[in-house]
Amino acid sequence: MASGLHSGCRRGFGEVGMFLARTVTRAKWIPKSEEATGEIPADAVTGDLRTRDNALSFWQCGTGTTRDLENAVLAVAAGRERVDKVEIVWVDDQELRADAQAMVHTDGRTPVTDLVGLHVDVYHLNYVRLGQVASRVVTAFDEGRYCRMTRARVRELLVLAVKEGRLKADDLHWKVRDQIQQG
């Protein structure tokens, strides 16, 4: 297992590709009944794939190396109001292109300056295309492209980013700043 990632972060892929990561809540994607096996629960779509202006936010995570995934986690965590676990799933951008999804680079809302440019919007989503994204998320789960980083590990990433100068503590939400400055 690559250093920096807990055993809970499995890469599970072999081919070179470009991946796009997004936060998810894994528990929402588990069907509630045996009869629903293979189906995607509605709460997963309405809860985890909430669009804004018919667009979903993703972060490029290269080929899904440990460093790439940690950067995606860092980009998300640094923009939050408190230090919490981070769960991400990463989908293959070739799969999204095969679904004719529209994608565009937009500046990400993160105080980690070198990660701002990694943000991607999948836009012009509608009922059908959103369902396709959901299917790709399920595929990602099945292929092990899911990671959950504990709060302690997320805090370590934030502390390291501040030490490396990638992130200014003053640019963090005050609660996040307090939590990383505590021992």
Partner: protein
């Protein structure tokens, strides 16, 4: 509070309403939120009658909340006092008096349900439900508050709400006693619903401590991703 109690309160108010008033609306909901409300319509010929009526209702409210027969917090009633009375002309009915009784526990549950419907709980983002729960714990001197928060957090009939409440409890700085916290996590880990078990691990991660670590370590989780997360949290708590 049961509906019968609410009915008794309504009757007490009704006894104060002038005889020429008639009930015009009544609501008796029980979607896990027990409340009874009723309105009366009638006419008052003078503002002094309106003031007198309002005073009698205020006295009733005060007796219910503060009087010798006032019950504990979980049975607290909220009696809506009309903020204004319309003084009508003779024979013209335009004065309305409304009264509702709401179980305090049910009221907070209703508030929590409402805020979670508007905005789901998200990692890393503060949520209004945290303040609702925090205030409920601060306002009450009754230990049953923790009991019914626990009931909500372990209710598998509404797992999304339960998991959200459980995670919000995890965001508080160690509510209740240590044994209460351990019992809550242990019970939640034993639930069949994965959202509740997942929320239990997240709450355990927030609260930390050796006793919590032991509870997590002793849990036999079947879902691989959740088992991995538990292992990671146990590892973190060992440090």
């Amino acid at each position: 509070m049961n509906v019968e109690s609410a009915e008794n309160i309504i009757q007490s108010a009704h006894d104060l309403i002038p005889a020429n008033f008639v009930p015009i609306a009544r609501s008796n909901e029980s979607k896990g939120v027990e409340f009874v409300s009723i309105s009366w319509m009638g006419s008052l010929s003078a503002s002094s009658e309106a003031a007198s009526l309002q005073g009698r209702l205020v006295n009733l409210w005060r007796d219910l909340h503060l009087g010798p027969t006032a019950t504990s917090w979980s049975d607290t009633l909220d009696v809506a006092i009309p903020s204004s009375f319309y003084v009508s002309g003779f024979g013209h009915r335009d004065t309305q008096v409304s009264l509702s009784t709401v179980n305090g526990q049910a009221q907070v549950l209703s508030h929590l349900r409402d805020v979670f419907e508007v905005e789901p709980l998200e990692d890393g983002i503060e949520h209004p439900a945290e303040e609702i729960i925090r205030q409920a714990l601060l306002d009450s001197v009754d230990s049953r508050v923790l009991k019914w928060l626990q009931e909500i957090a372990l209710d598998t009939a509404q797992p999304n709400l339960s998991a959200s409440v459980l995670r919000c409890l995890g965001r508080l700085v160690r509510p209740g006693t240590k044994s209460w916290r351990i019992g809550l996590i242990r019970s939640a880990l034993g639930k069949g619903d994965v959202e509740i078990r997942d929320a239990a691990v997240q709450t355990a991660e927030s609260w930390g401590g050796e006793a919590v670590r032991r509870v997590l370590a002793a849990h036999d989780e079947q879902l691989p991703w959740l088992r991995d997360y538990i292992r990671d949290v146990v590892e973190d708590l060992e440090k």
